[in-house]
């Protein structure tokens, strides 16, 4: 069996938990931006460069929505 020192195992588990929590926080912040509860600048302060991704995907979602709406409104 592969032996992993207890401290290393614990460090790995903690890193996994932190990574998971960070992802949840980033997603929560992205949702707040999407809902218009926080500004782009506030999002940028919290998640850094990834704010650009959120904005781009949000804009593409709105653009696609208009295209689908056009199909039904014509």
């Amino acid at each position: 069996m592969l032996h992993v020192p207890r401290s290393e195992w614990l460090r790995m588990k903690l890193a996994e938990a932190v990574k998971k929590d960070l992802l949840k926080y980033r997603e929560a912040l992205a949702m707040e931006y999407t809902m218009g509860h926080i500004s782009f600048e506030e999002l940028q302060t919290a998640v850094g460069r990834e704010a650009e991704d959120v904005r781009m995907i949000s804009e593409m979602t709105q653009k696609g929505k208009k295209e689908v709406d056009r199909l039904f409104d014509e």
């Binding site: 997603e27 992205a30 999407t34 809902m35 991704d53 979602t61 295209e67 689908v68 199909l71």
Partner: protein, 155 residues
């Protein structure tokens, strides 16, 4: 309406539980490469594999188009979209979006197909939001952003 859909969007829509409804409502075209990718993914034992196997059961409602082999899947999807005169290309692959945008065919996310069903009166607002949550729980950060921002569609 004809939609050319990529592998990750098909899997996301399978998670939503509405892929079969979509396949009955609109024309879906995929490339031979996407078909092969689904078969390869389906070999494994994770959630994506189970989804891929379910999609393969829907092939009677999906058109597979053979196009000349290109270096990337998105290039082949563009080729098939042009060949079949598709109304939309559907992709949740953010890295592929710049290439897909170079065509005259509009690019949508998988979430827009749920919105299409909503506008067609085939699903409720709540049904759409629940479907988004199912898609959200199974994907990576950037794909999850698509499903998070997809909430806008049902507000």
């Amino acid at each position: 309406m004809i939609f050319a859909i990529d592998t990750c969007s098909l899997i996301a829509l399978q998670y939503s539980g509405y892929l079969s409804t979509i396949a009955e409502t609109v024309d879906i075209v995929i490339t031979k490469r996407i078909h092969s990718e689904l078969e390869e993914i389906g070999i494994f034992t994770n959630n994506d594999a189970a989804a891929a196997r379910e999609i393969l059961k829907l092939l009677h409602a999906i058109t597979i188009v053979k196009v000349p082999q290109r270096s990337t899947g998105e290039e082949e999807l563009v080729e098939v979209a042009l060949q079949k005169k598709c109304d939309f290309i559907v992709s949740d692959d953010i890295r592929a979006v710049p290439k897909l945008k170079m065509t005259n065919t509009s690019t949508l996310f998988s979430t827009h197909l749920l919105y299409y069903l909503f506008r067609a009166g085939m699903i409720s607002k709540e049904g759409g939001l629940i479907a988004l949550e199912k898609m959200w729980n199974n994907r990576s950060w950037k794909e999850n952003l698509i499903y998070i921002t997809g909430i806008q569609l049902f507000r």
